[in-house]
Amino acid sequence: MNRRDFNQLLGMGTTGILLPSLPAFSRPVTPEILLEPGLDVATKKRLADAAMNAAKSKGATYTDVRVGRYLNQFVVTREDKVQNIVNTESYGVGVRVIADGCWGFAAVVDAKSEADTAKAAEKAVAIAKANAKLMKQPVQLAPQKGYGEVSWKAPITKNAFEVPIQEKVDLLMSVNSAALKNGANFVNSILFMVNEQKYFASTDGTYADQDIHRIWPLFTVTAIDPKTGKFETRQSLSAPVGMGYEYLQSNPADKVTGITTRYNKGYDMLEDVTAAAKQARAKHTAKSVEAGKYDLVLDPSHLWLTIHESVGHPLELDRVLGYEANFAGTSFATLDKWQAKNFNYGSKQVNLVADKTQVGSLGAVGYDDEGVKTKKWDLVKDGTLVNYQAIRDQVHIIGEKESQGCCYADSWSSVQFQRMANVSLEAGKTPLSVQDMIKDVKKGIYIIGDGSFSIDQQRYNFQFGGQLYYEIKDGQIAGMLKDVAYQSNTQEFWNSCVAVCDERDYRLGGSFFDGKGQPPQSSAVSHGSSTTRFNGVNVINTARKI
């Protein structure tokens, strides 16, 4: 199903919020199906063993099998109407092999028997052997120890699928009603919930059974000024997270107070929409920004996307090597810069880490989609580029002995490949609050929430907008601004980083549907940071007359 079909499924039409894609072969089901357990581990092992044995008998030197059940539930509303409730299930098995030194892949929908998975394995071997004729160099796969029969479960406390649909509808209806009462003319609100039940087996001797949960509550409010004929919007300050329904149980300790309330591990949707409606209304009379250089104070609800685009993507090794040249592009962070060991990606304050283990993050799993136990590693240390993100058939290029464990496929029917880990900016080591950070700024802009984003194909030049902009004058917040976007260059930007708030302010943002590859696959990934200051960044005014 492509994005356009999916928009139609949700009935959002042309005014829809950008939506994630459903896994292939998803079929609508009743909500009760989402609570059924799926196949037991012993059955999944039998299906996997049958595939591995069949591949070996046809000449494969390595095989991995993914038995996947992917469940989705979306509740979509606008104003006083439920527009759509979607429950889907997708089940199948993907088999990847190396034969004659070349990768081959085949998948089977609704695999019921060992014969089904064995047949897919044989097809994968045949494809590998055919492709081997066009290959220049055989696949070099980093060694990986087998872990035996293991399991991993996301540490959630409330499975979102156990919450009755009516309760979810009631929540969104109260959110919409609060928006309309507080000055919004229109409101769209959505709950996305995902459960990936993945079983991985490989001829290295790993059988990993994993249960992954994600949730994303979001809304957009629109306020219209009939006198001017203009409209302003404000989107939710929630983050998509690797959590259960407990994310929607707000806890005072998870609220970050200030000019507007932001949220950590618990989200108060009703409170946020109430503020959003008033802020969308207030944007009509906000001052239009004067273009020029400003010191930027960036909230984690905004900075995650800048990290994603300007650090996460350029440090993917497949981009650096040119495998994405025809689509997503290549990278400015070339191997020679890494080899030099002195490339200043950012200032000394900048420590960027990749982490597939972070609790509550979208990217957290126990084992990646090629059976590698996940970990955390440095990408940029004290401002210097030190590493990339790479998987088993790439790590030899950067002199690593084992994969970093960031291989992922968005469905049992897709081939796994290198995807972004959670990439985050580490909190500052010296105590610093947001208030103290702002106190030192003479001429600045405080930006909250993510907005428009665009970056070039080698990740040098970027432009970002946000949801809320506040002018900082002589250490004080002077009022709301609008029509703000900043433009910079990745290396220049991260070198203009002068201060990072401490860990008390550390929060995650994230992308529910990061796209890559041809045909495209989507992946979910989180990015953490504390509020961070960047000096002298170029800000443009985006107001136009048509």
């Binding site: 629109t222 004929g229 090597l321 665009s454």
Partner: protein, 452 residues
Amino acid sequence: MAILTREEAKKIIDKVLAYSKADETSVSLSGNRTGNIRYARNSVSTSGESDNIALAVTAVYGKKSGTATINEFDDASLEKTVRRAEEIAQLAPENPEYMPMLGPQTYLETKTYAESTAKINPEFRAQAAFDSIDPCRQKNLTAAGYMEDTTGFSSIGNSKGLFGYNRSTGVDFSITVRTADGLGSGYANPDVNDVTKLNTKATTQIAMQKAMASASARALEPGKYTVILEPTASVELLQNMMRSIDARSADEGRSFLSKKGGGTRLGEKLFDERVTIITDPQNPELPLAPFSGGGGGGGRGGGGGDSLGLPQEKRTWIENGVVKNMYYSRYWAEKKGVKPIPFASGFIMMGGTQSLADLIKSTDKGILVTRFWYIRAVDPQTQLYTGLTRDGTFYIENGQIKFPVKNFRFNESPVIMLNNVEALGKPVRAGGNLIPPMKIRDFTFTSLSDAV
């Protein structure tokens, strides 16, 4: 199996409808066979082929609807799926905007299918990739490309007697060629229904020339420039604008077509008088599916939601700069007392007779843009978008390409752009549309990029 004939599809749909007990039932049956080959660093990286066929049943009780799907077509499976759709519908909340299903419709004959494309096999794809990679290897250039071909059918039917069937084929090919030192990059991206109109070798030659010619680019100051936009550059901006001409958003006051004080700007002149944009399902260069919606494999045409099954006809959206039509869902059309107009993709922007070379020849000073990249909305109110040039940007002086220039970031609105028209050339197919190369004055570049 994946490609059913009209008769085969109708037989299955009729059987499903015979099982239905709901107030209204609709069936959508579609299938496709799609194959692809991807290469990078002058070597094939992945290739694949898949067949997919799916039947979706939507059952409706009053204003409650439910959908279930199946990919097996024995009687028991079909009946089970109908019952499941009915069960889901009973549990669904009422949709106050639900519109009763359409009765029988008359559809145009459109030529979206080409036997040549339906016959593509893995050997053909491997040869197409070889024809693209080999010339690059010989010139010490690096090729990365992707070709995807699809053959599909789409059929729809409902309990009120509506039936529609269409089959289509399509091939999309994109190629990026880079110089060995990484200082030059070129791109081309043709799409066709009939693969005999695609030549991966000739297309790759264009990308190779651009890669070689774009090396060692010079920096120009950002600012307002006269630009010549190749169709591959302008297509996404124009598509974004065309997707936004929805009447409901405009009536609600949240569109660039909303009128101050209420209502829409339908009938107003918003663009240069040379701007005329139509859709025409029977255009031989750009055939479109004859009805709205119906799932994958039906070819371009778009639509869906309550517009499922509405006929796609020749329609003028913008004529001599005046907004002539907007999309109206059936619900919104009824509310406003007008005829529904389904969403349509695959538009034709009228142009002139000049070639790209003619446009360059007539330019004193300007920038030739091959492609725009990472286009994102900045302000929906003004249709302001940002993005960057990529894979071949050149400075023109006195009618000649003088030297390659570094890539720019732009912040520009297609509405402003289509007011600043200097000249329009002969339309060519790009991204499933027919678009002329266009010369635009005062195009706004806001910063420079080091990206190649």
